[in-house]
Symmetry: C2
Subunit: 221 residues, 2 copies
């Protein structure tokens, strides 16, 4: 009895995701769905990008949709950087879905936005199952979580178009096994780019941002 209901929900979600995609295309908005564990550094890395956009040769307007169970801590941080942001509180839901994104679009100046980050709820499981209408899934892992995460959450890493390993400045402290991590990612996603960065020191952020913009066709390769 449960399975058909869930399939219906996913099907309805996919339909609205396709509509969101059309809306984004029409407005020239490139959309990144950011997924990670709680505290992996989603907001910190988005802020690192926002700070670097004005220095790029190509002028890009940014926007952010923040997904959280509760609170507006992250949205407040983004707003303090002068970037348009909408907070979605999911109540108890462990992921964003396409209807939530659709309802957020009315509150964003899409015509001024070239690059939209959707920060999903902190969770390595459910968000991977719900299409939102984004161009690219960015999965952020972080060194303190350990190198075994791709083996434990294969669905999330399989869904990634781009993997960022954050807090890499602490790799030695945590005896992080780079080869084991990469092997785990490659098992489920053989060709996805993997970037090593630190939102704290800024190390690796420029190369990652450049790769991201190339994948979105917002910058020549």
């Amino acid at each position: 009895m449960q399975v058909p209901v869930i399939q219906q929900i996913l099907k309805a979600n996919d339909q609205i995701a396709a509509e969101n995609e059309k809306t984004f295309r029409a407005a020239g908005v490139h959309v990144v769905n950011v997924m990670a564990s709680p505290g992996a550094g989603k907001t910190s890395l988005i802020l690192q990008v926002l700070d670097r956009l004005p220095g790029l040769p190509v002028r890009l307007g940014a926007g952010v949709i923040e997904g959280d169970i509760a609170s507006s801590i992250d949205a407040d941080l983004i707003a303090a950087h002068g970037v348009p942001v909408v907070q979605i509180n999911t109540g108890g839901n462990c992921h964003l879905d396409a209807p939530m994104i659709r309802s957020a679009l009315d509150h964003l100046p899409l015509d001024n936005i070239d690059l939209l980050f959707i920060e999903n709820v902190g969770n390595l499981i459910c968000p991977a199952n719900y299409r939102l209408g984004a161009d690219l899934n960015l999965v952020i892992a972080s060194v303190p979580e350990g190198h075994d995460k791709p083996y434990k959450y294969p669905g999330m890493f399989a869904s990634a178009d781009l993997v960022v390993l954050n807090k890499y400045d602490l790799a030695e402290v945590f005896e992080f096994d780079d080869a084991a991590f990469d092997r785990g990612v490659r098992m489920v996603n053989p060709t996805v780019p993997i970037h090593r960065v630190s939102a704290r020191t800024g190390e690796g952020v420029e190369a990652w941002l450049s790769g991201l913009l190339q994948q979105l066709a917002l910058q020549p390769a």
Copy 2:
């Protein structure tokens, strides 16, 4: 249409959780439901406890149920310590439920177990909604995740009978705000004990274990 189905599922789950609880009581098994983000240190802290049990004045047999989306990495670690362990792979499910626990019980020597850890799926959201039949909910947070987690995942911290803040040896590196963290926990759970520990250095583990055993009435206060 969805809500009644979910309510039915939760009701059926609660019923089986109550049966699990009876089974545990009858066998003299004290049960801890361990919940946390991916990589917060659930397995590491369980291993720290297992290593300390032989040194306690009271002799306690241990057992572990490991919940993961995929893999048996953690169960293999536990088994290497000579402790009975059952691995549950949930497939895609973001939490353990009472029927999964019931099916695991047949594979554990309950009569030899006084203290059973159930390591839930790494997730700060869904696991809090499913009773398993445990005596105590242990929520583990970790310093690298940041001090804002109780504000973002209030349901999880509200469900806790005991909070452990792990990786506390790195509090300075991460500029962890202790007062903000405690305030966030207290907002939703005014009286829950909060222990600061490091699974890496062992700091704080003894005091926490002592508190845990007292809460389970396995050690005099």
